[in-house]
Amino acid sequence: MSERVVIDPVTRIEGHLRIEVLADGEEITDAWSQTTQFKGVELVVQNRDPRDAWAFTQRICGVCTVVHAIASVRAVEDALDYPVPKAADLIRYLVLGSQMVQDHVIHFYHLHALDFVNVANVPNADVAAAAAAAAELEPKYALNSRNRFQAVQDQVKAVLDSGQLSIFTNGYWDHPDYRLPAEVDLIAVSHYLDALEWQRDMIRINTIFGGKNPHPNFLVGGMASAINMDSEITINQVKLNTVQGLITKTIDFVENVYLPDVVAILGAYADYLDIGRSSPSFLALGKGGYSCSGEPSPPDGFKPGLILDGKLEVVDFDPDKLLEYVTSGWYRYSEDSEAGLQPWVGETIPDYTGPTPPYDWLADNDKYTWSKAPRYDGRPVQVGPLARVLSAYVQGDPETVDDVEPLLRKLNAQPEQLNSTAGRILARAVEAVQMSRELQRVFDRLVQGIQAGDVQTFNPDKWEKSTWPAESKGVGYAEVARGNLSHWVRISDGAVSNYQCVVPSTWNSSGRALGERGPYEEALVPHPLVRPEQPLEPLRTIHSFDPCQSCGIHVLDVTGQEVSWTKVQ
């Protein structure tokens, strides 16, 4: 007899996600991924000035707070055939790339690690042994000191002893599947705190070029941060020196702490290389941080495309094969709600048919989520760091081969096993290392350009509406923290007439379509679940996707479908 288990709220994610599963014995036999929030930002951006659209769509998500703004300005620039100066392009990469590295680190330590690291075990650690182990594991990291570990242990102990557990309240600390030695738990909690300090420092790269984070500023046609090496207030040598210092710090933490921690922790959870296997198709249009207007052509010969059905080769991406279905989502289509629609002709007509809250169970209904279901050529597709790293590896990208193979050897794993909970975690760390190195290369190019007089950050040629065509459409792609993102805009008479986002978390967290589960759901069937009241194991797998559910809700209206909303206005 199957038992119904609900995980709601799925915490340590962005947004609101609910997971319903059927469990039999100690195994999950079926699963439903349910996004329980809808904001309708794409309806709000209708009829607005397309130069403002980034500031609206950016607020889809404050975790990946850069990505929707980048995709938006890229889409508008594609529509207006609006070239961007080289320095602005490089600055955009620095902002997006630094935010993505930060995002990956925050995800691992603050949103995921507590699925593997037992805070309640920290007082049991031998501090000297922890310091010795850390020195061996991470010899280059300066904060791995006995004093530091002692202070952290004391602090954790004080919280636990007080009986007021703060954010650790009701954690599954007595779950039998916490496996790490207390010393590793202590090291990890110490790095949890270090990472908080690190992220608030290194994110100043965003502040220097975008004024603040979260939600830094962008600009259609370039970037607003002017460069003048002889001015006190613009980008000058002082600010460039700060950026250089922060990039150095970024590389140091990611290479010397984050990646080694991931490998050490996965070493104790190596069976997760065989747990959480999901849909065997992957989409990647570039390495992490790549973004473009219109057709993708990433640097270094990276072939944008897909790995299909687990066959380790990359086939070309054809946007016409990208269709979105609403058969499990609370939407309908004006013609045929069973059909899939390509984003250019897509529709969003929210149509809530679920139970009136409060409710206990949604999965008895065909429709159970605010996510649409994108499919490529009929297939559910995984996007994200794993898709990108796997694609680069399959293509024989030398840097990726060099980065991945030693890790596979260390974990005694085959490339195919990367399609797993552990594989997604590992790929994210590898990508963070690669992107932090790329930050340095891009920064060097920016500095060399400035030395050569290449200081233009904004192109005024297409700024005025009078230079725009009456009708235009454009697409912007970006490979962002959680996967492939695209914004699709139509502009009519100087205003947005149609806006659509196809978002990583829609790809990954979508419900069923064409009789197949979405990737989150597929990853959970089958899956261990020892204690239904403490669903630690499925949380590990769901978190490995880095859910971002505000991004997983969306979409546009093309043909006046806001009509459906008149009933609530």
Binding site: R12, S162, G211, F458, P535, S550
Partner: protein
């Protein structure tokens, strides 16, 4: 709530009982005090004719002795998590200081360890205690709240449950303040701010999209150390952060007064750091501490990095301040006597201010402390909009506001007369 007095809370390592003992308060005196408290507690329900099991002095003593840190419930409703991300960036009172030393944050979806039922049970347990409530996110009222559901309950129901025993309520961020982007035209989900739902308690609005993290943490620490939330303006925004216009403390103000303006991004003026007013800066209309506190460990701020302020601490900025790159109207001739012009515009804005104040008025003494700073507010509906504060109230409350009746009683956000009224109004 026990208010920290600086000594009590050092290191967070002693209980109240230990603390009192150390400070020479005898157990006997403490029990007498608790007995008095028990008497006070008993008076309420007894006077109201209710039969309630009252705690004894011993029970109260035990509770108090074990109480150390204020409990914090931090909800995230319909939002983007940018406000919690902002808190992670707070430089002085850091998030780790906040959650490990200053308070016991027993519910927050972004960083709490527990999930699912265990998380929801933590929320329910925390809601039963006196607690400080922080809310990120708006409350969508369309479709009986189906646009934001947590643990099977609507955002409205979750908010009402958490507000019941809250001793102080902070609406943090533009979503919780007034609805932000999803609450802008056409507001597809009927998103409203916290103080449209919670009308029987004061709500402090920490404005911004997101707010500066140090303003969020300082508002909480102010409350912990003073025993009451900070004084606020007519919109419920703390004066220590929102008492002055960006324009008045902008380092580019000299350029503005001298008529030295950026005309196009990256022009010669931009490369010399001139004023951004003519490319759309909303600093003259925006009350926020950005030029003073700045962002991300005081590294910089939007205007400092060359982009105009978009006015994200002001209600309705997505409707009233757009298109963002169009110059603010009626702010006088560049370089000439702008203060006079701003004052004139300010007088026009007073009508709008009056509406905003009235919506808040009369609930508690808290509101009476709201300073007259609000009168300095400059409302400039750029596209002819009315201040959006009233719009969500209209759509949210159905017939209630238009009929002049107070908003309806708390519902569970599920069914019942409140929900059916909304349905009928649609």
């Amino acid at each position: 709530m026990i208010i920290p007095d600086g000594e009590l809370w050092v290191e967070g390592q002693e209980t109240l009982g230990q603390h009192l003992e150390r400070r020479g308060v005898s157990r006997r005196r403490f029990l007498e005090f608790c007995g008095a408290v028990a008497g006070v507690l008993a008076a309420g329900p007894l006077a109201a004719g209710k039969a309630v099991a009252m705690p004894s002095a011993e029970v109260i003593a035990q509770e108090l002795e074990n109480l150390e840190k204020p409990v914090l419930v931090w909800l995230q409703l319909q939002e983007c998590t940018g406000c919690m991300e902002s808190v992670l960036r707070s430089g002085d009172t850091t998030v780790e200081e906040l959650i490990l030393n200053l308070v016991s944050m027993e519910y927050n979806e972004l960083i709490m360890a527990a999930a699912g039922t265990a998380a929801d049970e933590a929320l329910i347990a925390a809601n039963k205690k006196d607690h400080i409530l922080v809310v990120n996110g708006s409350i969508p009222l369309a479709d009986d709240g189906a646009h934001c559901v947590i643990a099977g309950r609507s955002a409205e129901a979750i908010l009402r449950e958490s507000a019941e025993n809250a001793v102080a309520i902070f609406a943090v961020g533009a979503c919780a303040h007034w609805g932000c982007v999803q609450g802008s035209r056409p507001n597809p989900t009927q998103a409203v701010g916290v103080d449209s739902i919670i009308t029987d308690k004061p709500v402090v609005n920490i404005a911004g999209c997101p707010p500066i993290p140090e303003v969020i943490t300082a508002s909480l620490v102010y409350t912990l150390t003073n025993g009451a939330p900070p004084p606020v303006d007519g919109q419920g925004r703390p004066l220590f952060a929102y008492g002055d216009r960006i324009h008045d403390f902008c380092p580019k103000r000299g350029r503005f007064d001298a008529g030295q303006f950026v005309r196009t991004f990256d022009d010669e003026a931009a490369r010399n750091g001139y004023c951004l007013y003519e490319v759309g800066c909303r600093g003259p209309n925006t009350f926020a501490p950005c030029p003073i506190i700045r962002w991300n460990l005081s590294q910089d701020w939007p205007i400092g990095a060359g982009h105009p302020c978009i006015g994200c601490t002001e209600v309705g900025f997505y409707d009233r301040f757009t298109p963002f790159y169009e110059v603010l109207p009626n702010l006088g001739v560049p370089g000439t006597g702008v203060e006079a012009d701003a004052t004139t515009v300010g007088l026009v804005g007073l009508a709008a201010v009056g509406v905003g104040v009235a919506a808040h008025a009369g609930v508690t003494a808290f509101n009476e402390r709201r300073a007259t700073k609000a009168a300095e507010r400059v409302y400039l509906p750029l596209v002819g909009d009315v201040p959006t504060r009233e719009r969500p109230l209209d759509s949210a409350g159905g017939a209630a506001p238009t009929s002049g009746a107070p908003p309806g009683p708390p519902s569970n956000g599920s069914s019942g007369p409140d929900a059916s009224t909304k349905e009928g109004d649609q």
